[in-house]
Assembly symmetry: C2
Homo-oligomer: 305 residues x 2
Amino acid sequence: MSLVIVGTVAFDAIETPFGKTDKIVGGAATFAGLSASYLYDKVKLVSVIGEDFGNNMEILTDRGIDVEGVEVIPGGKSFFWSGKYHNDMNSRDTLITELNVLADFDPKVPASYQDCEFLLLGNLTPQVQQSTLDRLKNTPKLVVLDTMNFWMDVALDDLKSVLKKVDVLTINDAEARQLAEEYSLVKAAKIIQEMGPKYLIIKKGEHGALLFGDGQVFSAPALPLADVFDPTGAGDAFAGGFIGYLAKVKSVNFNNMKNAVIYGSALASFCVEEFGTKRLQNLTQEDISLRLKQFIALAKFEISE
Amino acid sequence: MSLVIVGTVAFDAIETPFGKTDKIVGGAATFAGLSASYLYDKVKLVSVIGEDFGNNMEILTDRGIDVEGVEVIPGGKSFFWSGKYHNDMNSRDTLITELNVLADFDPKVPASYQDCEFLLLGNLTPQVQQSTLDRLKNTPKLVVLDTMNFWMDVALDDLKSVLKKVDVLTINDAEARQLAEEYSLVKAAKIIQEMGPKYLIIKKGEHGALLFGDGQVFSAPALPLADVFDPTGAGDAFAGGFIGYLAKVKSVNFNNMKNAVIYGSALASFCVEEFGTKRLQNLTQEDISLRLKQFIALAKFEISE
């Protein structure tokens, strides 16, 4: 029984209105893995890094994350992304993308990962997402796929192909509209569910998230924050918290998925409080418990007629 | 004991991706009054119309709304607004604004309105909002003010002056940022609360609403709708439902305000289902009760730790 996450483990350089970083550790699998590690103790990553990653792997192993499936390419350079956020923090410009070892990434799934019951196909090329799924001998109990508009632009057929094998898709509202070619999110959700995923989560950043499935809809709030320091990785932290919670409770149904969305939102709300992975490296169970109480207070009302 | 609403009673001509209307009845006080009339039975309007309004007043009186304070200017023409919504339904262009009788509007508060306990200063010039407040002999139990960016652009000092006398302000997120000159909504809320209103409601359209006050925050979802037919009046219907609920329950506290936000959201969700006032003219208590159940299902989750 384990939770396997495939995605990037990488370096980022980030500029926001609050400051600027040199190369720091980032990557979809990094954020998702750290986030999931607070909810479930058998988190296993599949990724690729260069020799330049050095002892940064400790950020993951310190949280008990299994990195046997993270291939280190001798002499290689790790994937590097650099971006600058605009003042509204909702839009950003990519300054640099160096694929490096990611260009030829052929995901390795170690024998010890074949106990995978929960699989997160983190944001990455759909081909690599597909290969990872193919290399698992047993169909996982739950497959969650996170992606972004870039893959819709350059690899739509591959994305649609892997979507057929997926239980839950997480994308943002603009991406849902793009994928479905439909403006109404309610109609877009129906169209996307016909592509494969029984459940669709639409991430709306500061506006929260919508979960569609089983003929129901759930609207999760986002915690209003005085400062959003760095949004990088928030979507990955959300996905990691979401699947981490389901791996913990083991039972996949709409009510548990609603809770999973709240856990994902709570972990994402920590992620943006500091640059990079900083806040996600040192959470306590008490931090998480207090944050969940804030979410409960935020959304609760009692109407008696 | 009554709920007094000041605002426009007017004609609109609307174009959306779903169709186009000739002159139909609109106006902030119209939408707010209709909405409130489903929750409270002593709704009284203050407004001004031209002789051309004719028997359209029946739309209001059929719902039991008191129109003694709606002045009819002999030979005058009613305020007319025409607008066209873009495909996303979140932005619109104003095509025509004819102030007509609104240009010289001096609000009349009939003696029979002096029992006002709940006052909604609907979207209108801040001077008229102020005059209406001044002409009430007793300070109402609750004063709610709705406004928009236009008045921040052309009458900011007047707006700030009336805000000092107001308990609740309802504006959208862009307007909150403009008024506070601060991007973070959490910080903007604090700044606006220092201008006068103890409570601030930030209306986010399809993303729901935030209520700030008493050191707490509440996030209300918006109902995801397959089709938004015509957004005109949704903000007014929200404000009317909000204050109508509080007038009904009479007790003003944060828990009741949370419920009031949900009632306002429910009424607004009906408003957008048809052009103009059409849907708000013929609701049943069962329609409203079913809609509230949808809101409850939409937002409810149960986390047990």
